[in-house]
């Protein structure tokens, strides 16, 4: 169970303080597929960064399975990212000088409960491409490597920041199908931040943010599979 309780994040922009999140509260069920929706500047990426332990809130409480993320020190936060969280970025953030296998293995080295990188690559359908470098891959393939890298640590939480933002619709749907499968089959809690409202139909829960506040939290009566969404 994940909960945000009255979370605020302020940035100092010169002499002005800007509130990226202003008293945000919501919760996410364990093993669910949650979509955080909102336009640019709504605070969705900030919320994801706070949840992933990449940034600290100015106030409020963030609870992940009973662990108060907001109260963790730098070392504990690193441990949290190391063991509990897998990140997937819009621009993949693969390390250009490591090949596909190594990009996945680097993460596997960290998690105590890691899955074999080769298994993970097989899972995302990239076994044949394991010796290739990122520059030799398509966008979809790079994102699949990023998913494999995030998953091979065997994290509880999979946080995805616009995972299909840089992909064409066909490739994007494949990536989403993979994420959905991970949530359903492996029981991962997947949180996808996006401005694409169509993705919301795949989610168990949809959290809409607007101007740094929660506009709406809605649960879908039935979360659709990728094939069922009219892209």
């Amino acid at each position: 169970m994940i909960s945000f309780e009255n979370v605020t994040k302020r940035y100092q922009m010169g002499k002005e303080a800007v509130k990226a999140l202003d008293g945000v509260s919501f919760s996410i069920e364990r093993g669910s597929f949650t979509v955080v929706l909102g336009p640019s500047g709504s605070g969705k990426s900030t919320a994801l960064n706070l949840l992933g332990g990449m940034d600290a809130p100015s106030s409020g409480v963030i609870d992940v399975d009973g662990k108060k993320i907001n109260a963790l020190g730098p070392r504990a936060l690193t441990d949290y990212r190391r063991r509990d969280v897998g990140f997937i970025f819009q621009f993949y953030n693969l390390i250009p000088s490591l090949n596909v296998f190594e990009n996945v293995a680097i993460a596997a080295k960290l998690g105590g409960n890691a899955v074999s990188p080769l298994e993970m690559l097989a899972e995302v359908g990239l076994s044949e491409r394991r010796a290739h470098f990122p520059i030799e891959l398509s966008g979809g393939e790079m994102q699949r490597v990023a998913i494999a890298r995030a998953l091979c640590k065997n994290p509880k939480l999979l946080l995805c920041d616009e995972p299909t933002g840089a992909l064409d619709s066909k490739t994007g749907t494949r990536v989403l199908a993979l994420l959905k499968r991970m949530s359903k089959e492996q029981g991962k809690t997947v949180v996808v931040v996006t401005h694409n409202t169509l993705i919301a139909r795949m989610a168990n829960r949809v959290i809409r943010l607007k101007d740094g506040t929660v506009d709406e939290v809605a649960d879908n009566s039935r979360d659709l599979d990728v094939d069922e969404v009219d892209w």
Partner: protein, 769 residues
């Protein structure tokens, strides 16, 4: 264009450290060269000016007498414009208030002399009528003497009061060494002076010229002139000396040449590294702006304007650094060096001075930096705007694909090292630049420390192993040698000589001994040599200059000797000094020469004290004094070496820090990603640590042979003709040169690690969007 200039200055502000590195390297490269050039060329130009302003002779002939007729005949020789007579004699100064019984070398000029070989700095102009003394200004300064004061001089017990008419400086005495045992002037003990012909009778009893100042006309053939002089004074002994054989002028020229060589050697490394830094940094800066280049091109900005815009980055920063170097190098470094050198060399018109090479260096550095910036942006302009906008340069490198997955649990090379090696191969020029920076730093520090070690070792070796006496007493021909026989004393004859081997010749000293005693000779392997086993032992540097090997024969012409001797060299010794030939008394006498000792060597303090009171002993020198004198000369280099060490460390720091910064700025996203993945701080920074450590260790390993080779070259270049420095690097200096470089690298690591630790994940990753 206005906005492009605004953009340029804002870009510079945003990348202040990179531009600061370029500025600093351009500054150091130019400042070191111009600083050193300002000093050596200032001395050289001052010396040339000094020569031009005074009537210094082109050559000198010394004999037991020159008549007016002989001087006239020599002046009519082809290539000779004038031959003017002087009488040179040595007097003791015995004035109250002038301590230490200094020695005065008095030159009495013949009345008809047209040239005045000195410069009056204070008091009355020199004339042929006034009775009085024109005294060495440096000696007068050391003894607080002024025109109008009187000096009592003594010769063979005969005392004369001389009125100081003026103070003078003379190019012939630019570095006046009163004794052949000294290597730097001692203005407290030795003076020179001039008087006119009328005064000679009062001081010396009569005017008996024994020196001829010879002035050349254009196209003079020195060899023919020497033969002509020999024919004119046939049957009498003479010694010919040009500027190259005049110890005073020669040592000054050698010092200037040494400084020139040091400036060229050291600054060439600095300039090379400065250029490499500039090229590497500019390429990175412009590459990082690839998207902006694409944007400008997409907006319709002409390629030439974009090219000019980015060229300006290189131009402005390097120009600023180079001009600063051009202003501060001579103003600070040259002044410091000149101040030190002018304590040894009396050159009245020496001031910092640059050649056109300094301007060329500025043009070269600015030109290459501008070119580097232009070439880097030209790469961006070649692509279509869309292509530039689509790709960032960092991601476009193709790596060689390995077989298999490339890394497994049993991989020999860990992921970290694989990553490092690939990053290094991606930026090969930068990697080589880093290694070159470390090698340069080690080399310069090693050479600076090694040169001091070599000089100190030569000094210690000479005065503890070669010369084992404690006192050296200079004696004249009237000395009763019977007083110096026995276990505690040894007689030594030393004569200045000219050595010839084929077409090569060089001045040096002939040392004749009855036994090895207090002078030990060593061969190249450090084995003791006994003179009794050899016909002649030649010092290594003289042998090398003459191209003489053991078994060869050389021609020796001693000062004051009638005939040229032919001596077979059967051994080469590694003695640092004196450079010359060592002969056993038996060999010397076998050549038809008389053994006429000029010095007594002894380790017995009481004997030295007793003999010192003998009127035939002109000077008692302790080995400690001799060693101290050499140290004084070496100390004159210390400031220079310390400055060079400081510059080397600065250079090492700038090169490594700049490379660290470039890598950091390129890898911010990777470091952030690793942090997000859960890498701990130390795990992330260890990547940078390892990379830097690899570059540093490789640089140190390559720096050792490079440093030793450079030191060998360096020592060979700066060794004077009369003092050969063996190559020596103390263990402590070896360790210090490596340690200083390593500390520099570790400190850079520490600073860069701080920056890596400060990478904010959310912001870094957002920056990509």
């Amino acid at each position: 264009m206005k906005y492009l200039i605004v953009k340029m200055f804002r870009d510079m502000k945003a990348m202040i450290y990179q531009f600061y590195a370029i500025l600093l390297m351009a500054f150091v490269g130019v400042a070191i060269y111009t600083g050193l050039e300002g000093a050596w060329h200032g001395l050289e130009a001052g010396l040339d000016n000094y020569f031009a302003m005074t009537g210094v002779a082109d050559a000198w002939a010394v004999a037991d007498g020159f008549s007016d007729e002989e001087a006239r005949r020599i002046s009519r020789l082809p290539g000779v414009s004038a031959a003017e007579r002087e009488m040179v004699g040595y007097l003791d100064i015995k004035s109250p208030g002038v301590s230490g019984d200094p020695e005065l070398r008095l030159a009495v000029c013949a009345g008809g002399n047209a040239h005045q070989p000195f410069l009056v700095t204070e008091g009355a102009d020199f004339d042929g009528k006034s009775d009085g003394l024109w005294l060495d200004a440096d000696f007068a300064g050391a003894k607080s003497l002024w025109p109008g004061d009187s000096l009592t001089v003594s010769m063979n017990g005969r005392r004369t009061n001389m009125r100081i008419m003026g103070l003078v400086l003379a190019p012939e005495y630019v570095c006046y060494l009163g004794s052949q045992d000294d290597i730097i002037p001692d203005h407290d003990k030795y003076a020179f002076g001039y008087a006119n012909e009328h005064y000679a009778a009062e001081i010396f009893g009569a005017f008996r010229p024994n020196k001829l100042n010879i002035y050349y006309s254009e196209g003079a053939d020195e060899g023919a002139i020497r033969e002509g002089i020999d024919q004119v004074i046939k049957g009498r002994t003479s010694f010919f000396m040009n500027h190259g054989l005049n110890a005073s002028i020669k040592s000054t020229r050698v010092k200037i040449s040494q400084m020139f060589k040091i400036s060229l050697l050291f600054s060439s490394i600095f300039v090379l590294l400065a250029l490499l830094t500039i090229v590497t940094t500019m390429k990175r800066i412009v590459s990082a702006q690839r998207i902006q280049i694409g944007t400008l091109a997409a907006l319709g900005t002409r390629g030439s304007v974009i090219l000019a815009h980015y060229s300006l980055y290189g131009f402005i920063v390097s120009l600023l650094g180079a001009v600063l170097g051009l202003l501060l190098g001579p103003a600070v470094l040259s002044e410091v060096l000149l101040g030190i050198q002018l304590k040894i060399y009396s050159i009245p018109f020496a001031g910092r001075r640059l050649t056109w090479l300094s301007a060329l260096l500025v043009v070269l550095i600015v030109g290459l930096c501008t070119l580097a910036a232009a070439l880097a942006s030209r790469g961006g302009l070649k692509a279509m705007p869309a292509e530039s906008l689509r790709n960032s340069s960092a991601g476009n490198v193709r790596y060689r694909r390995a077989k298999g997955e490339g890394m497994s649990s049993g991989a020999v090379v860990s992921f970290e090292w694989r990553w490092i090696f690939r990053e290094l191969s991606k930026n090969l020029v930068r990697f080589l630049m880093g290694v070159a920076g470390v090698v340069g730093c080690v080399t310069l520090i090693m050479a600076s420390l090694g040169l001091q070690d070599s000089a100190n070792y030569a000094n210690d070796f000479l005065y503890s192993q070669v010369y084992t006496y404690r006192y050296k007493l200079n004696i004249d021909r009237y000395f009763d040698t019977g007083k110096a026989r026995g276990d505690f004393a040894q007689l030594l004859e030393e004569d200045e000589a000219l050595f010839n081997a084929g077409a090569r010749h060089m001045g040096g000293r002939v040392s004749v001994m009855e036994e090895d005693g207090f002078v030990s000779l060593y061969d190249a392997k450090g084995r003791r040599m006994s003179l009794a086993d050899h016909e002649g032992v030649m010092s290594h540097m003289l042998a090398r200059t003459l191209g003489v090997k053991a078994g060869d024969e050389v021609a020796v012409r001693c000062q004051g000797a009638e005939d040229e001797l032919r001596v077979r060299v059967t051994g080469i010794s590694n003695n640092p000094a004196p450079q010359g030939l060592f002969l056993h008394r038996d060999v010397w006498e076998g050549l038809g020469m008389d053994f006429l000792p000029t010095a007594v060597l002894t380790s017995d303090e009481a004997l030295a004290g007793r003999l010192g009171a003998d009127p035939s002993v002109s000077r008692v020198l302790s080995v400690d004094d001799q060693s101290r004198n050499v140290k004084k000369l070496l100390d004159s280099f210390t400031v220079l070496f310390n400055l060079l060490i400081l510059a080397a460390i600065t250079m090492g720091w700038v090169v490594l820090y700049n490379l660290g910064l470039l890598s950091y700025s390129e890898r911010g996203l990777i470091y952030a990603t690793l942090k997000v993945l859960g890498f701990r701080r130390l795990e992330v920074t260890s990547l940078a640590y390892r990379e830097n450590a690899f570059i540093t260790v490789l640089g140190l390993l390559l720096g050792v042979p490079a440093g030793l080779s450079f030191l060998r070259l360096y020592v060979g270049l700066v060794s004077a003709d009369n003092f050969e420095w063996p190559v020596k690097l103390n263990d402590s200096s070896f360790v210090a040169s490596l340690a200083l470089t390593a500390v520099c690298a570790v400190f850079v690591n520490y600073v860069i690690a701080g920056k890596i630790n400060g990478v904010r994940m959310a912001e870094s990753l957002k920056a990509l969007e």
